[in-house]
Amino acid sequence: MGEQFFVYLSELLGKPVLDRDGRSIGRFYDFSMALNNDIYPRAKGVIVCTAGFPRRYAEVALADVLRIDGKVDLKIPIAAVTFQDVKIVSEFALRRDVLDQQVVDVENKKVVRVNDVHILRVDNQYHIAHVDVGLRALVRRLDLEPVVDLLVKFFRPDADYLKAEELVSWKNSQVLTLGNQKNVLKLDVARAKIAKIPPVLLADIMRDLDIFEQVSVFRSLTFDVQLKVFADMAPDDKAGLVGLLEDRELVQIIANIPSDEAADFLMSIPRDRVQQLMRQMESQASKRLRTLLGFRRNSAGGLMATEFLSLGLNATVADAMNKLKASVDYPGSFNTIYIIDDQGRYAGTTTIRRFINEPFDRPIVNTCHPQKVFVRTDDGMEKVAVLIEQYKYSAIPVLDENDILVGSITVDDVMEELIAMAWGKYKDQI
């Protein structure tokens, strides 16, 4: 049989390794791979183990391998191979790190177990091409392939089992742990792969990972994705994850997201941890958060964000445009600008739609909504929802008892309530 392009790792395991003179020095144990940003990593050596007890191991560089074809032929004599009593410590080895491990199938967005590794052989180089996650691979590992194939052919010749190969391209698979170090996601290639998965599905995938893998994946994400993933995680998983993340990391997340989401985030963390984190934040930030957390959960105060775009009474449309241009990185609502007097009291609300076509020197207050629509900090969620639904605003200002503008509530903050109201109306109609 000539050299085939593809070979399965399971076909190589345990095969005899012969030195230059044809003497058996052991059996094929593993491939040690080069750990870099290659899309399809390539083998850099063969790990050999001796047959008897106690087992001894050696690594042979791929350059010293003549050919692999049913057995492994080396170019060097046995004397040139140094065996040791403990397993070879390599950064990345196929059998140890890929075979039988769980990997993330980025394309199908789930966690799968590798039953076999499909290797591409080209010019005496060996690259990982696919992982095989199918049932047939399991059967092959049990050396039952011929028997089972025969049975299946006999009973169901057109069965999927015989035709479909469940190979997942290595490009779309991501190993999560390497040599017991759960930090392989530091590699850019690895990060990019995980980042391709939508956050909502990531949260689902994380559930199938063990706690250390979850932390590893979580750390590789950007802040906004971290937030979305965290929001979609089950409470138990959240607790576990937060327990393993460092204060520094949590504080960073909090500092980079809108305050209302930060408040939500904090509410799902145990109280003593929250105190710990607040102490480490800048006093401004923590003060604002404390205020937010102080409000009743389902009141306007509890739902609002303390960030909003605002201008003074004397501002013009031009000032508004400049404000928007300067706030491109602003995490909060971009569409609405509030007008406040020099004491911070609410004067009016305007939106991009209302001033975009106005002349630049027009005072911005003239573009505001004719009615002053607002809520107070202790108003309930239902009142907010009713107002938003009635006026179709995308954001509503929140005032304290002195009419000072303290926050802004957007549609998504009251989404649940809106949906419940809409459902009520819908049910009455049918």
């Binding site: 397993k87 075979l99 039988d100 491990q101 769980q102 799968v112 177990r113 039953n115 996650v133 399991l138 590992r141 049990l142 050396d143 040599g179 017991n180 063990d210 706690i211 250390f212 893998e213 138990d236 607790a239 576990g240 327990g243 393993l244």
Partner: protein
């Protein structure tokens, strides 16, 4: 809020006293009086060490035992172990249904009605029920096992006789004696419990920070198991053995509760046995199906639909079906089946133990938290002892035959 902090150790300890446990301990007490109490001491030590290893593995690796076996030993070994586990657990499930049959028999309900009905109820409870509530109900009723303690004390056993039996046991080497010894070990340290416990550790998200509390919880759980076992044996010894009653069916075993419950002994026993059996009959096949699927990469979990996780549901259903079939067989000797399934547990245990010992000593898996000498000693001696006992048991008919030939 005690229930809220119930850890894996305590839950596992309670589930350990299922139909298999109650039956085996009862038979041991009835047949051999106090002469088997000594087996509880080494069983306790072994159970504690083994469960601690599971706790440690779960905490350090964050993975279940099935996952670890698959990742460290590959497909062949995993297939071998799990084949054994499935067989053992079909047996264990059959035992639970035997418990159902026996207990309902006391109330006069034929097994042909009680067992299928319970099987259907089990399926519904598993697929639609709320596990947490079921767990709470079960734990509440497992306090009923404390009745055995009261009963044992009220039967006024001879405590001096008990202490002598503990220290100077009369060990016979008949096949029957061996099988009961193995049965006791197998029901106290059932392999499926190792998987269950480690899963529970991960579910509760126990980290290395909580290790001390978790260990305490394991100690309490193991102690509870063995204490209940002790008193079941004493109660049966003091009532049944003293009066020469051999347990042929559940109603015989119920008599052990007479000192405590008087005329209602049978009903009380039947009720407790039924609850224990039904709950375990739900958990066992579910857990087994789950671990097998986990190990082989199939989708699993009752939160998935049948078409999403076909292997899981198929496995779960088959285990129940075969177990029910065994029990519904006309004239099936329920007690004998029960004892022998626990013996099978004991035979499978060394295999699982060996893989655990390997992994828990591997720095690659456990980092710096590998076993110490004492733990290894207990682990290895339990394994070797079990293999030797199994060998003796399997060979004893051959030995008896051999002896006969020689004495000719």
């Amino acid at each position: 809020m005690f229930l809220a902090i119930l850890g894996p150790g305590i839950v596992t300890g309670s589930v350990d006293n299922d139909a298999g446990g109650i039956t085996t301990y009862s038979v041991a007490g009835a047949l051999y009086g106090y002469n088997l109490l000594w087996t509880l001491i080494p069983s306790f030590i072994a159970l504690l060490v083994i469960q601690e290893m599971n706790l440690r593995m779960g905490v350090i690796t964050g993975k279940g035992l099935a996952d670890l076996i698959r990742e460290n030993f590959g497909v062949k070994v995993t297939a071998f172990i799990f084949l054994g586990l499935i067989i053992a657990d079909i047996g264990n499930t059959a035992t639970e249904f035997a418990g159902v049959a026996g207990s309902m028999d006391i109330f006069g309900v034929s097994k042909y009605i009680s067992v299928p009905l319970t099987a259907i109820a089990v399926w519904i409870l598993a697929t639609k029920g709320n596990y947490k509530i079921a767990e709470r109900i079960f734990l509440f009723f497992s306090f009923c096992l404390l009745f055995y303690i009261i009963s044992a004390v009220m039967a006024k056993p001879d405590w001096r006789e008990i202490s002598t039996a503990l220290v100077h046991p009369h060990a016979k080497f008949s096949g029957e004696y061996l099988s009961i010894v193995l049965g006791i070990i197998g029901t106290t340290i059932a392999p499926w419990m190792q998987f269950y416990m480690q899963s529970a550790v991960i579910e509760k998200g126990i980290t290395i920070k909580d290790y001390k509390f978790a260990f305490l919880d394991v100690v309490i759980g193991c102690t509870a198991t063995v204490v209940v076992a002790f008193f079941i044996m004493v109660a049966c010894a003091a009532t049944l053995n003293k009066n020469g009653v051999v347990i042929r069916e559940a109603s015989d075993a119920a008599m052990a509760l007479k000192p405590f419950a008087g005329v209602l002994a049978s009903q009380v026993f039947a009720f407790g046995l039924f609850i224990a059996s039904a709950f375990s009959a739900t958990i066992l096949p579910l857990a087994t199906a789950f671990y097998v699927c986990e190990a082989f990469g199939f989708e699993a979990g009752i939160d998935k639909r049948v078409d999403e996780a076909p292997q899981f549901y198929w496995l779960f259903g088959s285990i129940i079906a075969v177990a029910v079939g065994i029990i519904l067989w006309p004239n099936a000797p329920l007690i004998t089946i029960t004892i022998w399934t626990q013996v099978i547990n004991a035979m499978l245990l060394p295999v699982v133990l060996l893989s655990m010992i390997y992994m828990v000593n591997s720095p690659y898996v456990m980092g710096t938290h590998v076993n110490n000498k004492f733990q290894n000693f207990i682990g290895w001696s339990t394994t070797i002892l079990l293999i030797v006992l199994t060998g003796m048991l399997l060979l004893s008919p051959a030995v008896t035959f051999f002896r006969k030939i020689i004495s000719w």
